[in-house]
Amino acid sequence: MENALGIWGPQAIMMAITASFTVLGMVMLLAAMMMKRRWKPSYAVEFAFIGIMLALVWYGDFTSTKTYAAYQADLNAEEKTVSGNYDGLGEEAFDRVVTVVAFQWGFGFINEEDEISRNALVVKPGEKVLLKVVSNDVIHGLNIPVAQITAEIDPDDKRELWIRAPDAPGKYLIQCVNYCGVGHAQMKAWLVVDAGEEETDGENT
């Protein structure tokens, strides 16, 4: 999946670092309980630990910021932030621009022809889709697992996200991840990847 926030790449390294730290801690604890030979560790060991931590903080911040900035670079070249005053510049870089209305409880999708679809975002395989997300009532979350993206949307505020649609036609989950009231569990929609008539081997879902 071509997505800056993808599981593979920088994120896999971060998860490997996290896992190694867990294992290291467990091994140290096990040694402290089991080992026959014992000695008093010097302060140098602790300082070395802090040094490693500081390096990791630098590396984590560097990688995370770079990854996220690369993701946002496609959105608004001027602002460098995910949202705020998106002025429509650069929309031509996307194959499809959809306004997403998050409400209690569901998602509405408005395409460029002002047609509204309740709970189905229909795209073509591999398309680069810009989502302009708004909420009119309470704080909602928008999560598209297949595109590996999550955002939180406050009322009276507009955000932009972009996704690369999967290549395989089918139905993919879109869900709210922020508790938004009693209907939260039902607040789902589908990302429908439809090959359409242009593709001879296309299959509608």
Binding site: L5, T18, P41, L54, Y179
Partner: protein
């Protein structure tokens, strides 16, 4: 180990601790209103058990519902009410009061004051919290413990104001508790160089309590005012000119220090009981002091990491929050390093290896590593905007920290104090059952949550689709939850049985014996 060393203030001052049966001869008046620190602590600890039973029962009910996809027997509103009460009762009713009550008992012992200063404030703090808990159970709010505006203003529950008032009362209660901890820490005669680490913990966390609850009180007041529409001014309701961003920043200015409120006193329990079991001082005194101070300073400005995939947390501010959040890792690493080094720098006595509180302590260190390492990942915006934010990954993280570490450490403290409260020793077999059921159950539960989160399982849902992996993870969490519940039943039976029939303890209940086979006569009672 020489007696002189054990009397060192950094060692937990063995001289002041005596096993005693406090329970027999307690009058109702003493139970309710006595300002003796032992009575206040006993009452707080016992109330925390009731809260744990309550919050645990809620969890068992909705865990049963969640074990299978689709709706079995719980509707959305009942589920969310149980979920909200589970969160609020466990954090505000069980965890924070339990560790604070243990501090109420241990501080006067360790500092040698033998009385709790400002005990009246501790008493008031207790009763205000009881009122808050009663309001919560009557009002049955369903807005989760974070009460995000404007959702929490529009739940359609006519009694929702009780939830808002309860938030204010919790803030008042926590302020008083913090003041008591802070005042008692100041009573230390040791100066900067000889103050026990538990007093350092009480001082820093007491200060953090007192500062951080103001935003919480304001959140409660603002929600109440917005809901009742007392004035033209709306604080948080965007439809009347309020600001949701304002709510988020105010709430999490409390909300992040809040997660350290049960965390730091639990750390203090380790610094108090570990030297007692090992028969030697901690590896480093100053490492502990520095870590407490750094944690208190670092806690305040990093609240926005709780809602960082929202547009106002961006650019340089995003990086500031991200870097500071990762830096808060360092004091925790200092603590953990200190504990592991203390265990490692000499032999571990046989008497410690078989003591239930010591076992709980060692495994809670394992859980702080297990849950704490993920903080490095959670702090970063890129993975946070992928699978971490508000997926089950977050409950995995905070159940490891709150329950796996803080909760289990509080129970280590309870087992440690048991002979001092009852004059009797707990039953070892039942203690072992409790211990192993909790370790295995918690590990299954937390790992299941982590896997569910990695598969994008959203938080706060009572009903879910049968997506590959989701149902299996939920079933695992439910099984783990049942094991934890069963372990708690063992603990309850042990508590009541041993208080009446346990072996009597008259001398030091925790003698340091390196080779139990060589000196079986000196074996501690059980």
């Amino acid at each position: 180990m020489a007696t002189m060393e054990m009397d060192d203030p950094k060692m937990g001052l063995k001289a002041h601790w005596e096993p005693k049966n406090l329970l027999s001869g307690l009058t109702l008046n003493q139970i309710l209103f006595s300002n003796d620190y032992r009575h206040i602590a006993l009452k707080g600890i016992f109330t925390a058990f009731i809260m744990l039973a309550l919050g645990g029962t809620f969890a068992i009910i909705f865990r049963t519902e969640l074990a299978l996809p689709d709706v079995q027997f719980l509707g959305a509103r009942v589920y969310m009410t149980l979920m909200t009460l589970h969160g609020m009762v466990m954090v505000f009713g069980f965890l924070i009061p339990l560790v604070v009550s243990i501090s109420y008992y241990m501080l006067p012992k360790i500092l040698g004051t033998d009385r709790l200063l400002w005990a009246g404030a501790a008493q008031a703090s207790y009763w205000i919290l009881i009122v808050a808990a009663v309001l919560l159970v009557i009002g049955r709010p369903d807005f989760t413990w974070t009460a995000y505006a404007p959702m929490s203003l529009r739940t359609g529950n006519p009694n929702i104001w009780m939830g808002h008032v309860a938030i204010i009362l919790v803030a008042v209660s926590e302020f008083l508790a913090g003041a008591v901890l802070f005042r008692n820490a100041l009573a230390s005669k040791g100066g900067l160089k000889n103050t026990p680490l538990m007093a350092w913990a009480a001082g820093t966390i007491g200060l953090l309590f007192m500062i951080s609850v103001f935003p919480l009180g304001f959140v409660g007041f603002g929600l109440l005012s917005d809901w009742a529409q007392w004035t033209q001014v709306a604080y948080f309701d965007p439809s009347r000119g309020g600001s949701v961003q304002f709510f988020l920043y105010v709430f999490w200015t409390y909300g992040h220090p809040a997660v350290y409120l049960p965390f730091v006193p639990a750390i203090a329990i380790i610094y108090t009981i570990m030297p007692r079991f090992l028969g030697r001082p901690m590896w480093s005194y100053w490492s502990g002091v520095v870590a407490f101070v750094l944690l208190a300073i670092g806690a305040m400005p990093i609240g926005p990491h709780h809602f960082q995939p929202v547009y106002t947390v961006s650019g340089d501010y995003q990086r500031f929050v991200q870097i500071l959040t990762m830096l808060v890792f360092i004091p925790s690493v200092l603590h953990v390093f200190n504990w592991i080094s203390s265990l490692f720098m000499g032999p571990i006595p046989d008497s410690a290896r078989r003591a239930i509180p010591f076992k709980f302590m060692v495994f809670s260190i394992a859980f702080i590593v297990y849950g704490g390492a993920t903080a490095f990942l959670n702090a970063q915006i890129a993975p946070d905007s992928d699978f971490i934010h508000n997926s089950y990954w977050i409950p995995a993280h905070f159940h490891a920290m709150f329950f796996g570490f803080s909760g289990q450490m509080a129970f280590a403290g309870v087992y440690f104090l048991f002979p001092y409260f009852t004059g009797r020793m707990y039953n070892q077999t039942m203690g072992n059952w409790h211990f192993w059921l909790w370790q295995i159950g918690l590990f299954i539960k937390i790992t299941g949550m982590g896997i569910a989160g990695y598969l994008y399982f959203p938080r706060w849902v009572y009903d879910y689709l049968d997506i590959p992996g989701w149902a299996d993870a939920q079933m695992a969490i439910t099984i783990g939850g049942y094991m934890v519940g069963l372990g708690f039943l063992f603990f309850l039976v042990n508590l009541f049985w041993s208080a009446k029939y346990g072996k009597e303890v008259t001398d030091d209940p925790w003698p340091v014996i390196h080779d139990l086979k060589a000196a079986p006569a000196a074996a501690p009672a059980e």
